[in-house]
């Protein structure tokens, strides 16, 4: 045992951005510890955060470059892999089909900047993006559209001082545990908690008022809250409308509306990835304005980003140029092809499922993957360059509140793995271009000179442990108009025999397909049995189907049929079936490719389903 290294990093998973130390307890044996001085995490970490140390110097780390020979990926030298990738990408530039460059939402700012520069300067493609945009940016943009000004999530620690917290359609305990912790602290200090959700995954039972709305009715429910803040009796005024009376618990809504009207410093909290449509983000903005125009001038929205550096990677230019769109589901639905794709430290299977990736693969052209860990995307790549992961690379990240933190390296990347910045620089040089260069400090100089929001950041201060702050600039806007939907998104495909409503939500296993999870032995142990698709029903409904939890049911919708395991969850309302979002392939089978397509993202509307116990 020799803890000689205490490096500080930011958790690379959800948008909470918790600070942590990585300590080495023996050669290559790292473990995370909470950082009490971090203003929003204060030493707390979630079950993913405590395991982050397992990623650093993991024995599952990719250590050797790989190139495809026929059906096999074979090890090769780093130089050969760079040369092969450069040659293939050069060829791809010369054909008509586009090249897409996709970066992970957890890349550091420098890595994201270098990735964007590779796309624009060397590959000369407008199709560059991070999957943060699908998860977060579209919701943020719709919120901004309603507010009429740039939006940034306030510091999480301020949540603890609120007198009312309204949680919308979000399972904070597992999606954003740090936000959950602050909500719990606010409650301990006397704040009222109101939960508005189609499914209660626990927080509803802890709330002062739980308002259940039928799937697809969130926007309408928020609209009724807006009316409630102006003193309308929403139960009397709207609840008598037949379409509403059955969809929203008007009595609870009135109670909640009364609490909301009385609050001086209320907070609205929602996870961007759990909002059912972009219109709901816009509605949240309208509610905020309504609250601020009343008694609550200090009302705030805490729209929680689902990915670690999703604000940062977007600021660094990892977003498509005007007119270009990097939409994996759209590509899947179309018959379009790419000439090549570069994936930087992410797994496409995490977003479109393993089957979706297999369907896409023949149309992706040359696939160059930079990755720290094995994944379905790595397995189908033409060239794989191993890269450093958390604890093995330096760099900065931007929290969802705009604070900038420096990540320290506590170990060298193993084997032939290089930093993302180095690998991209080598690739650029091989292709005859000069994107950013391999030196981190030079990348920093170029980045802070070009990205207006970063111009006041000071590298030395960041390295010394001081947080920086990005400017409040105008965030990149997706092209097109916001979703104007102001009516319920009624479930799709009603037909005789389909009497259940299927909704897609995040659950506690939503990270099961992140390849990094397999490197953490406790997470791998806990998540291993959650990778086969399952749905949640309440226990009574399972009984009505004359089956029991753990067995399988057949679910049929207008889109297709799938056989899945059933699990019992107390807060699922009668007649509702919840499909966890991470089962992208099953979701596509049962709910299509995302029926609500709005600038920057796709949303899956609820669908009517037939459910019967499998024989």
């Amino acid at each position: 045992v020799a803890v000689l290294v205490h490096g500080s990093v930011v958790c690379p998973f959800c948008g909470c951005g918790c600070g942590m130390y990585l300590a080495e307890w023996g050669k290559g044996l790292f473990r995370a510890a909470g950082m009490e001085s971090h203003p929003s995490s204060r030493g707390r970490l979630c079950y993913r955060g405590w395991q982050v140390g397992d990623l650093t110097s993991s024995p599952l780390h990719l250590t050797s470059p790989l190139v495809r020979r026929g059906t096999d990926l074979i090890e090769c030298s780093y130089q050969d892999a760079i040369a092969y990738a450069a040659e293939a990408l050069q060829r791809a530039k010369e054909v008509a089909e586009p090249i897409w460059v996709v970066g992970a939402p957890h890349l550091t700012n420098e890595e994201a900047f270098a990735t964007a520069r590779l796309a624009s300067e060397v590959l000369q493609t407008p199709y560059k993006d991070s999957l943060a945009r699908a998860a977060d940016e579209a919701a943020v943009w719709h919120l901004q559209y309603a507010l009429g000004e740039p939006y940034r999530t306030p510091p999480l620690e301020e949540l603890g001082g609120r007198d009312l917290v309204l949680v919308l359609n979000s399972n904070l305990g597992t999606e954003h545990p740090q936000a959950y912790a602050w909500v719990m602290r606010a409650q301990q200090r006397g704040a009222k908690i109101v939960v508005l959700d189609e499914v209660d995954q626990g927080l509803g039972r802890l709330a002062d008022v739980y308002v259940r709305q039928a799937p697809g009715w969130l926007e309408v429910a928020i609209e009724m809250f807006i009316q409630a803040t102006t003193g309308l009796d929403v139960g009397a005024g709207q609840g008598n409308r037949p379409s509403i009376s059955g969809a929203i618990n008007a009595e609870a809504l009135n109670q909640a509306g009364a609490l909301l009207s009385a609050a001086r410093a209320p907070a609205i909290v929602a996870s961007s990835a759990s909002l059912p449509t972009p219109a709901s983000a816009a509605k949240i903005g309208e509610l905020l304005l309504a609250l601020r125009s009343g008694k609550a001038e200090d009302a705030q929205v805490y729209l929680m980003r689902s990915e670690a550096n999703s604000l940062g990677v977007t600021l660094m230019g990892l977003a498509p140029a005007a007119g270009a769109s990097v939409d994996l589901e759209g590509l899947l639905e179309s018959d379009r092809s790419l000439s090549a794709m570069v994936v930087v430290d992410d797994d496409l299977g995490r977003w479109v499922g393993a089957e979706g990736l297999a369907q896409l693969r023949p149309r992706l052209g040359t696939l160059v993957v930079l990755s720290a860990f094995d994944s379905p995307t790595v397995q189908t790549a033409d060239v794989v360059l191993p890269v450093a992961t958390v604890g093995e690379r330096e760099g900065s990240v931007v929290g969802q509140d705009g604070r900038v933190w420096w990540l320290e390296a506590v170990a060298d990347a193993p084997g032939e793995a290089r930093s993302v910045v180095q690998a991209l620089a080598d690739l650029s040089e091989q292709m005859g271009g000069e994107a950013t260069g391999p030196e981190l400090d030079k990348v920093w100089q170029v980045m802070t000179a070009e990205v207006m929001e970063c111009s006041r950041l000071d590298l030395q201060s960041l390295r010394a442990g001081e947080p920086g702050m990005v400017h409040h600039g105008v965030l990149t806007q997706p092209t097109g108009s916001p979703d104007p939907a102001n009516q319920p998104h009624e479930p799709l495909g009603r037909a005789e025999g389909r009497e259940w409503v299927l909704v897609s939500r995040r659950d506690e296993n939503s990270w099961a397909f992140d390849p990094r999870m397999r490197a953490a032995n406790l997470l791998e142990r806990d998540l291993r049995r959650t990778r086969a698709p399952y749905v949640y029903l309440n226990a009574d409904d399972i009984g009505k189907l004359q089956t029991r939890a753990g067995r399988k049911v057949e679910v049929s919708t207008v889109f297709g049929t799938a056989e899945v395991e059933i699990r019992a969850l107390e807060g699922v309302p009668p007649g509702v079936v919840v499909l966890p979002q991470q089962f992208a392939d099953t979701r596509r089978t049962l709910m299509g490719g995302g029926e609500v397509v709005a600038p920057g993202g796709r949303w899956w509307r609820p669908v009517w389903a037939a459910v019967r116990a499998s024989r």
């Binding site: 045992v1 020799a2 500080s8 600070g19 023996g26 044996l29 909470g34 707390r44 406790l522």
Partner: protein, 362 residues
């Protein structure tokens, strides 16, 4: 533990204790402040950076004896041959300097749990044998979350230390146990032997300890909670509420100096070599109790919350191990997402109405 001698030292001379102590060991581990202002126990050569007045560290220094991750052995596999195993016990000489009484108390428990039964944990035992403990007693609550007064974990250590330093105004009382004689000798003239008036100093220390206990903001009456859990009068529904609030992070276990659960994995490297790694685990995690058949006897968070709490609160465990399951360090208060840390649970166990359908301890 037999205390052999008492000394005093002026608080101004404290930094001078470090170089002679360091000369006795391969490494001296002491509380330092990181760039960001956090307190961490770390091997250090810089006398100036060692803290003498500090709130307790979130990462327990007990981890230097029972680390959150360690290699049990390395192996080489060759076809047709028996695996070759290589054990490498950690016999580095260490002094853990400035450790708080609560953590010292945890070491006393670990000594019994990992070395005092039918099976001896060789990794722990080897490290323990080569480690000296210099405890820094608390003259005031080390942090707002301290509650050792309820758990007999402090503010003065009663065992497992080799030397204990207690601030008493301008001087520190130096209590040297049998294992600390070498350190005391190395300190030589820095220490002023207490020839007379030991009782007065101890009375002063006791009065100070009493004031420290009274100043603690967290007060949960562990013993009363133990009685209620042991009597089996805590209703089942109580744990449902705790489970509902628990975020399932297992942070309480990962920071607890007394939690000993671990997981073991074999890490394989190229060429047939590998190592068996033990890492800290938690009964708060779903996979911990998951059986190979797929059955999980503690499937819900409430089940696991009860299990964890009973391990801390049940008199059965106390009888077996002779210690409370908690030292009152308050780290779980700092890290708990849902506000259902040990003192909160103990307090609520004390206050919850009894039920006829009580949950059995254990």
């Amino acid at each position: 533990m037999s205390t052999v001698k008492y000394f005093t030292i002026s608080s101004r001379q404290l930094p001078q204790l470090l170089p002679p102590a360091r000369a006795l060991a391969d490494s001296l581990i002491a509380p330092i402040r990181t760039l960001r202002g956090d307190i961490l126990f770390s091997p250090t050569d810089g006398d100036k950076e060692v803290l003498w007045h500090y709130g307790n560290s979130l990462l327990t220094p007990v981890a230097y004896l029972y680390p959150p991750k360690e290699v049990l052995f390395e192996f080489e596999l060759q076809e047709g041959q028996a695996p070759r195993l290589r054990y490498a016990l950690d016999d580095q000489k260490r002094i853990i300097f400035g450790i708080r009484p609560c953590d010292t108390h945890a070491i006393a428990y670990l000594d019994k749990f990992l070395m005092g039964g039918d099976f001896v944990d060789n990794q722990y035992a080897t490290r323990r044998m080569h480690t000296k403990i210099v405890t820094l007693a608390c003259a005031e609550p080390a942090s707002e979350t301290c509650w050792c007064s309820c758990c007999e974990g402090g503010p003065i250590a009663t065992e497992a230390f080799d030397v204990q330093l207690t601030p008493l105004g301008e001087v520190f009382l130096v209590e040297v146990a049998e294992g600390g004689q070498g350190i005391a000798e190395a300190w030589g003239d820095l220490l002023e032997p207490v020839q007379e008036g030991v009782e007065d100093l101890l009375a002063l220390r006791e009065a100070q300890a009493q004031r420290t206990k009274e100043a603690m903001k967290v007060n949960a009456h562990m013993a009363a909670a133990v009685r209620r859990v042991t009597a089996g009068v805590v209703p089942e529904g109580f744990w449902d509420d705790i489970g509902l609030r628990c975020a399932g992070c297992a942070g309480c276990s990962f920071v607890c100096p007394k939690c000993t659960c671990f997981n073991v994995v074999d890490e394989l490297f190229a060429g047939g070599s590998g190592r068996r790694v033990r890492s800290k685990d938690s009964c708060r995690l779903a996979g911990y109790s998951l059986e190979a058949s797929g059955h999980n006897p503690r499937p819900a968070r409430s089940d696991r919350a009860r299990r964890w709490s009973y391990h801390k609160l049940s008199y059965g465990y106390q009888q077996r191990n002779q210690y409370h399951g908690c030292v009152g360090c308050g780290r779980c208060v700092a890290v708990c997402m849902g506000g259902v840390d040990m003192p909160t649970v103990a307090k609520q166990v004390r206050e919850v109405e009894s039920s006829g359908t009580a949950s059995a301890a254990g």
